[in-house]
């Protein structure tokens, strides 16, 4: 398992290095002491399973959304290792919170649990297209615009757009030409109906 450390305190970073070195289960992929654009690029390109961060790197006003900021860069679990006092509310955003007084065993225990937390994935959608989505897809493939589709089915343009977004999410196909190929291959439309 690989971890990435964001630790302004060299001593704390060395402490974790020592713990991980002794146990061998965790490898440190990188250590940084700050989050600047350069570090952000590093984090986007790393493959660590967990990021361990001392929330002291974030300005006080940003601490409440610190986890979110890291999650925008990486899918890794985010674990706090605070050198400063953190209230319960702030702690709750992290997948785990390590304490300066945790034993090495406790640290490992918490990290393992944090990494195995299933992330609630909004895109866990794997269903087939619904009947209505197929109707809309057929119209799109035939070259109708949103307004025309809305009129045919007596629904709002907003609803048409939502359907189209769902079609793209499920199929992974974005362009009208691509959706037309999908419709043709699935025999939803007749080749003669596309010019």
């Amino acid at each position: 398992m690989k971890v990435f450390l964001i630790m302004p305190s060299r001593v704390m970073a060395r402490g974790l290095e020592g713990v991980f070195h002794d146990l061998g289960e965790f490898k440190i992929e990188g250590i940084v002491s700050d989050i600047s654009p350069r570090e952000e690029v590093m984090m986007k390109n790393m493959s660590a399973d967990a990021v361990i961060v001392d929330p002291a790197v974030f300005a006080h006003s940003l601490r409440a959304v610190a986890r979110q900021q890291i999650s925008e860069l990486t899918d890794a679990a985010v674990v706090a290792f605070p050198s400063i006092f953190m209230d319960e509310e702030t702690c709750r955003q992290y997948d785990a919170v390590l304490s300066l007084y945790d034993s090495p065993a406790e640290i490992v225990h918490k990290l393992r649990a944090a990494v195995s937390v299933p992330k609630d994935n909004a895109a866990s959608e794997c269903s087939e297209l619904s009947a209505r989505e197929k109707d809309i897809l057929i119209c799109v493939a035939k070259g109708l615009i949103n307004k025309e589709i809305a009129d045919i089915y007596n629904i709002s343009i907003h609803t048409v757009i939502t359907h189209r977004r769902n079609i793209t999410r499920k199929t992974g196909i974005k362009t009208v030409a691509g959706l037309t190929v999908y419709a043709l291959l699935n025999n939803l439309i007749d080749p003669s109906s596309v010019e």
Partner: protein, 233 residues
């Protein structure tokens, strides 16, 4: 202590750069740099190839690190003409190698399909190829000559990088669509043994095109913006 990500530098060996990311071989070949680097440094090989080292490093970093954005400093010290050379040579390599290869694989993939299915898929690819060629043609005939004129301080007044940026469309979208079609909705009559080849080729081309667009938007355009404002001042 192991470092996380190292960015490339001019005094490292070219062989180490390739070791760090072998995909950069594509970049190198587009700049007429070929294996047999010996112990020469990045700067040394660049000098031999007549490519500005700073521009080369910018391209390598953009190519290797997702989300990498060049600093003002880097943009200032790199030569736009070397970036242009890379982009121009990439265009030929997409048309001459990338598409040729992809078309060959796709032809084989659908060879066993019903005539109608074959036509649907190959027409989509042919339509896409035309679109890309038109896109490149515009850059080669309008934008690139403009960039050259700006570097020579005699740019026309009726065109600017802003106009280019506004009309710069996203060309890898359709390729991603095709990737999804091959991955998920291939007719069972296809030669499925070739599906992997097709997916590798599609993924590689789409990734490369995305990087190409990023280099245009985040390296070349800001460079030209800077030259334009210098000219006005």
């Amino acid at each position: 202590m192991k470092e996380g990500i190292r960015f490339f530098s001019s005094d490292m060996k070219m062989s180490d750069l390739v070791e760090m990311n072998y995909r950069l071989l594509t970049v190198l070949s587009r700049l007429d740099m070929h294996a047999g680097f010996g112990e020469k440094t990045v700067a040394g090989i660049c000098a031999e190839a007549g490519v500005d080292t700073e521009a080369f490093l910018l391209i390598c970093n953009m190519y290797s690190y997702h989300g990498y954005l060049p600093t003002e400093e880097a943009l200032k010290s790199a030569d736009p003409l070397s970036v242009l050379k890379y982009l121009h040579n990439s265009h030929s390599s997409y048309i001459e190698d990338g598409f040729m290869e992809l078309e060959k694989i796709m032809d084989g993939l659908v060879a066993t399909c019903r005539e109608q299915e074959k036509r649907i898929i190959l027409d989509f690819l042919a339509g896409y190829r035309k679109e890309v060629e038109k896109h490149f043609e515009y850059e080669e005939e309008v934008f690139f000559p403009y960039v050259i004129s700006v570097t020579g301080h005699n740019a026309s007044q009726d065109y600017s990088a802003a106009i280019f940026e506004e009309n710069h469309s996203n060309i890898e979208e359709k390729l991603n669509d095709l990737k999804n079609i091959v991955m998920k909705y291939l007719p069972p009559t296809c030669d499925r043994r070739l599906a992997n080849d097709a997916l590798y080729a599609l993924s590689a081309l789409s990734e490369d095109l995305e990087k190409h667009t990023n280099i245009e938007n985040h390296v070349l355009v800001p460079m030209v913006n800077r030259l334009e404002s210098k000219k006005e001042a």
